[in-house]
């Protein structure tokens, strides 16, 4: 009896350490898969990762990369967003083009289990830098999108673009939304016990006046109706082109001339 209790006690004590080891093992495997044996340095001086400590909706977790670079810091060509404990850890890879104003980026992802979320940036010379946060959320990838396909696929491919002047930072924030159910392939029907096949937005390219802002490769980890907020380096009125395709070969496209608006809302003000 005493032995049984002490075994239980030991099992409880051992858990946290075990969890930490598991986290590290997971990251080692993910890193090996995505970056092989390339060295990855701390990147806090170059960027910050914005992610909630605890997500209120695991299927819609806002995450962002904030550009922290100053004078003399290197150019960044690509950023990977990674959710270690997702079945598909890579959420998206973003390749910046000549029309990118900064690496600022906001999007919404699914988080399937308590996990580290990481941004890895690649500089012009091929060096890798990383920042990470921990997010508490679970079930985001298997969370149902909709009860019926018809409803979910309604308006699929509709693209919305808005733009705001970035003020002192220069350029314009482009807020891009793409209507799409982004079925993850992990949503199970309770009656048939079948998983609805994955169907998601894979590639997105955003151009300003014909020059690339960002090209993104996305996965099932992106939330329904994928949302990207990117920084265009162009001032004032610009032609914005959004090209996207999904895993079933559908192509979506939107071209419009847009004048960035100036926002007078003070987001820094405390309530």
């Amino acid at each position: 009896m005493t032995r049984l209790l002490s075994l239980l006690f030991l099992a409880c004590l051992a858990l946290p350490a075990f969890a930490v080891d598991q986290d590290e093992e997971r990251w080692d495997a993910v890193r090996d898969d995505l970056f092989g044996d390339r060295a990855i340095e701390k990147g806090d001086h170059l960027m910050a990762l914005q992610a909630p400590f605890r997500a209120s909706d695991a299927a819609l977790v806002p995450i962002g990369v904030e550009d922290r670079r100053g004078e003399g810091d290197p150019a960044i060509s690509r950023v990977w967003l990674i959710v270690d404990n997702n079945p598909v850890p890579l959420a998206g890879m973003f390749e910046y083009g000549p029309a990118a104003g900064s690496i600022d980026l906001s999007t919404r992802v699914r988080v399937n289990a308590y996990s580290h979320v990481r941004a890895v940036a690649e500089t012009g010379d091929g060096s890798l830098f990383m920042v990470r946060e921990h997010v508490r959320a679970s079930g985001g990838c298997s969370a149902p999108v909709s009860a019926d396909d018809q409803e979910a696929l309604k308006d699929m491919g509709q693209i919305r673009v808005r733009a705001w002047d970035r003020g002192d930072k220069g350029g314009a924030d482009l807020q891009i939304g793409i209507r799409h159910p982004n079925f993850s392939g992990m949503q199970m029907d309770q009656v048939t016990r079948l998983y609805r096949r994955a169907h998601y937005v894979k590639d997105v390219e955003v151009l300003a006046d014909g020059e690339r802002v960002v090209r993104a490769e996305l996965t099932i980890a992106m939330s329904r109706d994928p949302s990207l907020r990117l920084a265009s380096g162009l001032q004032g009125e610009q032609d914005v082109t959004v090209l996207a395709n999904d895993s079933e070969g559908h192509e979506f496209r939107e071209v419009l001339t847009i004048s960035p608006r100036i926002s007078d809302f003070d987001f820094s003000a405390a309530e």
Binding site: S56, P62, S106, S146, Q187, Q190, S263, F265
Partner: protein, 305 residues
């Protein structure tokens, strides 16, 4: 050793099975209308999912159970309460919407032969969400739940339906997408009781899982109903109608107006979370647990306007 383990398990198990030793507190809010108020908490092993208002209406020939609670255990105690009060058979189990705190007690009523009734989208939603809910509820209840915990409706309410319980008629109406896309309203015409399920939250913060604009539109429609009393999905079991909806109305309108304002000003969801509806903080129980989710849902809906 075997005996010791059994004793240990029994000792550990006893507090659980005693949770409803005194049954379920039910109030008779009108002739033959019984309602139990759920606690204002998240689902846990301690409350066994007893967080929603559930109850039943007794006619001359039939009993209709309306919502069954958040676990088979709650459903069983509700069934025992019905059987203790009347010999009249349970003919119907009505589910007001898809959320597990209202339907996970269904299993306890399967062998009564009762007909399960719900919104025309309930079957599809239970099918799509059932497995996800089962896993989440098992985790929160810290209990095993098998697949039979999901009991789909036998009969769908496409638009309106009447159920004759003998001496009283219940009028059921399927609503367009509001709190969820499976909301069903029940009116007991004999007593003028309006049973709203989670279309109405009182004291506990509303949770948005359908459409904010849809919910406001449905409330405009419901406010026109002349009722003696209303039963909310969460909160005191009998209140004046439509006065009881005033706080929820203010909350939903604030959520709509302030979310629109920040979207129009170029906010990200993060910024919206910091600025929308924070003034409602002291008006609701469980505000911090659900408000952010509501803002996110409102944002994702309204950014496409």
């Amino acid at each position: 050793m075997t005996n010791t383990i059994r004793t240990l398990l029994l000792t550990l198990g006893l507090p659980l099975s005693n949770a409803f030793a005194d049954g379920l507190a039910l109030e008779q809010i009108a002739d033959g209308v019984y309602v139990h108020q759920g606690v204002h908490e998240d689902v846990s092993a301690e409350n066994r999912g007893d967080i929603a208002n559930i109850g039943f209406i007794v006619g001359d020939d039939c009993v209709a159970v309306i919502d069954t609670g958040g676990s088979p255990a709650v459903g069983e105690v509700l069934r025992a309460e019905v059987e203790q009060r009347t010999d009249t058979p349970i003919c119907y189990v009505i589910n007001t919407h898809v959320h597990p705190d209202h339907v996970f007690g269904n299993q306890a009523f399967v062998d009564t032969g009762a007909e399960f009734i719900g919104h025309h989208r309930l079957a599809a939603q239970l099918s799509a969400r059932g497995e996800y809910y089962r896993e989440a509820m098992a985790r929160m209840l810290d209990a095993g739940l098998d697949q039979d915990v999901i009991v789909p409706p036998d009969r769908a309410v496409d638009d309106k339906m009447e159920l004759d319980l003998g001496g009283r008629v219940l009028r059921l109406e399927a609503m367009p997408t509001a709190h969820t896309d499976t909301d069903l309203v029940v009116v007991d015409q004999a007593t003028g009781t309006l049973w709203l399920g989670d279309l109405l939250f009182v004291d506990r913060i509303p949770s948005l899982d359908g459409s904010l604009l849809g919910w406001l539109a449905v409330m405009d429609q419901l406010r026109e109903i002349d009722a003696e009393r209303v039963v909310p999905g969460h909160g005191p079991v009998s209140l004046n109608w439509p006065e009881a909806a005033a706080d929820q109305q203010r909350y939903l309108e604030t959520l709509r107006d302030q979310t629109r304002q920040v979207i129009d000003a170029g906010a990200t969801i993060d910024q919206a979370l910091q600025h929308v509806g924070r003034g409602e903080r002291d008006a609701w129980l469980l505000f911090e647990e659900y408000h952010e989710g509501n803002v996110q849902a409102a944002f994702a809906e309204l950014e496409w306007e």
